[in-house]
């Protein structure tokens, strides 16, 4: 076919579907809730299984034991991880493949200094911090997200050269979460009846859902385009828009759920809390907007 074909190819769709099936079987809702109740984010066995399936080695050349695929495939895979709310330092371990021994195979868990300030995620569960010579000492901090344990360290390092790719893959996680909360909201709005009809028949509810879709679809094209171009400003835009789609999507889903949305039992709060964490990782909204402003002024002289 002639012409720009921005849509995923058949192979890319198959890859995405394969990861979705793998995660649905291995980390479905019961597993998610079990890890929440146990308070354990990283399951080493699952981590090795992900490594065995090529999750972390996706971009390594085949000659080095990797899968030999690119960033576009990586964002499709991370989108599914975000949809499943798969916990752990997925992005840092992915970026560490080929750099930190064991990261590619999933035998090592690698975190990163991806938060501004003294907080580090998953420190106690990690074997290494990306770009740091040794694991720093840290004091545990009670985390808003039950599956993102936090530690406070005295002298945090910097995300450095990994910032762009880290932001892009995190944006892909946010995209998956945004698409999932949209599905949850729509399913609830079709099922739940009040005043003798499904609440999804009311425009007030319908328009909330339509807004969620618009934000998610705009974020999707931004994420996919940034994965294709690798452009720093496009990555910043993708992170900014995907953060919003995920955070506001979870908020709107919570609203559609009504009282149930405020309970521990519903999964909505897990999406919202993780989306808040990711919004602080690699590139915040303020940083993304400043970067975009500089790019805007730079363009056309």
């Amino acid at each position: 076919m002639s012409g720009v074909d921005f849509q995923p190819t058949g192979e890319q769709r198959d890859l995405r579907a394969g990861v979705r099936d793998l995660l649905a079987g291995r980390y479905g809702r019961e597993a998610l809730r079990a890890s929440v109740e146990a308070g354990v984010a990283v399951d080493r066995r699952l981590w090795r299984e992900l490594g065995g399936a090529g999750f972390f080695a996706l971009r390594l050349p085949e000659a080095d034991g990797g899968v030999g695929l690119g960033l576009p495939e990586a964002v499709l895979v991370f989108e599914e991880a975000g949809r499943a709310l798969l916990p752990g330092p997925l992005v840092a371990t992915f970026l560490a493949a080929g750099v930190v021994p064991g990261a590619a195979a999933g035998t090592a868990v690698v975190t990163a200094f991806d938060l501004d300030g003294p907080l580090v995620a998953h420190l106690a569960e990690a074997d290494a911090v990306l770009g740091a010579p040794a694991l720093p000492e840290g004091e545990p901090v009670r985390s808003v997200d039950p599956l993102t344990p936090l530690h406070r360290v005295a002298r945090p390092g910097r995300a450095g050269p990994y910032r762009d790719e880290g932001a892009l893959l995190t944006a892909a996680l946010q995209l998956g979460s945004a698409l999932r909360t949209l599905e949850l909201a729509v399913a609830h709005a079709r099922r739940r009846e009040q005043f003798g009809q499904p609440i999804g028949a009311f425009q007030a509810v319908k328009h909330l859902c339509a807004g969620m879709l618009v934000r998610a679809e705009v974020a999707r094209t931004a994420v996919y385009a940034a994965a294709l171009t690798g452009d720093g400003a496009e990555i910043a835009a993708a992170k900014l828009l995907a953060d919003e789609a995920a955070v506001q999507g979870a908020r709107d889903c919570l609203q559609v759920y009504g009282g149930m949305g405020f309970t521990w039992e519903a999964d909505v709060h897990l999406h919202l809390k993780r989306a808040w964490v990711r919004a602080e990782q690699w590139r915040t909204a303020a940083q993304a907007e400043e970067l975009l402003a500089a790019d805007l002024l730079g363009a056309d002289g």
Binding site: G3, F6, Q203, L292
Partner: protein, 384 residues
Amino acid sequence: MDLTYTDEEQEFRARLREWLAKELPALPPRPSPDDWPGRRAYDAGWQRRLYEAGYAGLHWPLDAGGRGATPTQHLIFLEETERAGAPYVGANFVGLLHAGPTIAAEGTAAQRARWLPPVLRGDEMWCQGFSEPDAGSDLASLRTRAVRDGDDYVVSGSKIWTSHAEVADWCELLVRTDPGAPKHRGITWLAMPMDAPGITVRPLRTLAGSAEFAEVFLDEVRVPVENRVGAENDGWRVTMVTLSFERGTAFVGEVVACRRTLALLARAAKENGRWDDPVLRRTLGRLHGELGALWRLTQWNVSESQRSGGVPGTGGSVFKLAYSHARQELYDAAAQVLGAGSLALDEEWVLDRLSSLSYTIAAGTSQIQRNIVAERVLGLPKGR
């Protein structure tokens, strides 16, 4: 997933750029907004140049007199003409983007031969008679009546928001032919000659101060039955073809224009010192990200329609919702850059700011678009 253009597309772009560079300096000066005959002549002249260079009806099918270009080539055409500052479709809008594609899709061979070539050449202009004073978002409740009398329909009623009515040769008209049928099933699509007796055009002034559209009163206007496109009472389906075109690629050039405006705004803010305000700077940065993503969404929708054989999908509604909102934010940001200067009508962007207020209303309000998206994409139940 791929965003690279083929060699053929690069060559198409290069040839178009070359042609635009040669042609644009030779254009006459633009007429004033109130000079309707002048505007018509100007728009017709531009369309004629496009026709002679082989760019008219680029994306129309070959058997409709078009060039059978791919959606990507059409996208490149819209991008490059806007980037070069070429004239807008203007008075050719309805002919090229609504009525023409409808006739191409639904008309007989004789109807295509009669109406399509003059549209492509810029010889005939069309306007749209859809909305009525009591039929806006609920378009299917329209009441303009058409009664069969021999070989004619006799049409009475009134239409509103009709752009270019003063200078149009034809009107794509929706009329009620069966008042007893359910509202979507009693509508017929007619091509009405605008010089027929019984038509009165009353210009309407917009809040921007200019007469951009009109009210059209129809008093027993005779329209030949042979001017009917599609079957009697099948006009709603015929119209939906048109409206999906309206929501497909109609805004491509405008996204490019918005991005150009934003770059100018940033420079103006830098010059007047307001760039140092981090709130404004971040607002402009966010808009840069949003408009960039909307350009990518356009490419996404185009490659989707390319896969589905040229039929624009519901992606158009998603795009319009995001775009109309972003465009209004753009001009609100312009007002922040101008400060009190935004109160002066002769400042750049102030008239555009006023015009942008229509974007969340025209071609389907944002509320109607959200209903469409929620019901057709997400599968939520229709309200009662």
